[in-house]
Symmetry: C2
Subunit: 176 residues, 2 copies
């Protein structure tokens, strides 16, 4: 009887360990970012497209901006401010020429996503109470391995977005 | 009594006119493209993201490539050829600087979607029987008003995609 009890305890611990360390949907055991406490949203890569952009300079990336259902609904209704529950995801890839496309076009003109830069994945999360001191938005940045950027990086998010106050601190517009 | 009958006739005609000219979901009364007979797929703007790109030169656009469920599944499984039922949508917007973003970044570096060019919307549709003579793919191009490009334009689609035979005639790769 004692042996069975021990076995049950061992199995329970094993189950607990498995629960903690088995990534669900490949993104679990996920670390939250400093300050805002945001984790990667599972399934964000399936969200609908808001827009795309190219940043030159030090960033030199191509980016896609996706939105959860609340975000897409708000964008399409063209109504500000964004409601609580809005989550906007920004994915960036290095800006690289496509030799294959250039051959097809017959000239060097085509740029496509390359490797993931350090600033691969960002989220803006609307929660007007929780994030009242930063315009109602929480900010998060992760690298391609899901590692959050550090606290000093996250301190730069809101100051940079502050000039966008007239559009509820969101720069990206909906591309129809 | 005659006056009421006339009114009914007038109302019926008005209703008919409204039925003809009111686009359902903004895309009805949709004309098919020449050669391939493809119409705009309703709801394509809700499809998931495959990748993004920037084309320089005469095109000078930013583009997003979306896929229906069959396309996304095939891309993520990284398996060629694409199965019948695959539909890939390509939306292009003029490549324009964002003054607002540039102010926030403190330098001119940000490019975003502008107006729709003539080549706004394209589809590639996999049907290995129907489109056997063009690698199993049907091609379609529409402007922002849903107007199909002409026959001579559609004759250029497959010859341009032919060099991509090793990737089942599809240039765009999945951006993770």
């Amino acid at each position: 009887m004692k042996r069975i009890a021990s076995l049950v305890v061992v199995l329970a611990i094993a189950a607990g360990v498995l629960t903690c360390f088995t990534p669900a949907s490949g993104e679990a055991a996920q670390e939250a970012v400093p300050i805002f406490g945001i984790k990667i949203y599972p399934g964000y890569r399936d969200w609908r497209l808001i827009s795309v952009a190219h940043e030159e300079g030090n960033l030199n990336d191509l980016r896609a901006v996706l939105g959860n259902d609340v975000a897409i609904k708000a964008y399409r209704a063209d109504k500000l401010p964004f409601p609580d529950g809005t989550v906007i995801a920004r994915i960036a890839w290095k800006y690289v020429p496509s030799e294959e496309n250039n051959k097809a076009f017959g000239r060097a003109q085509s740029f496509v996503p390359g490797d993931a830069p350090e600033w691969y994945l960002q989220f803006m999360v609307k929660d007007s109470k929780k994030y009242a001191s930063t315009g109602g938005w929480g900010f998060a940045q992760f690298d391609k391995n899901g590692k959050p950027a550090d606290e000093s990086k996250h301190k730069t998010c809101f100051p940079c977005h502050e000039p966008g106050k007239d559009h509820d601190f969101v720069f990206t517009r909906y591309a129809p």
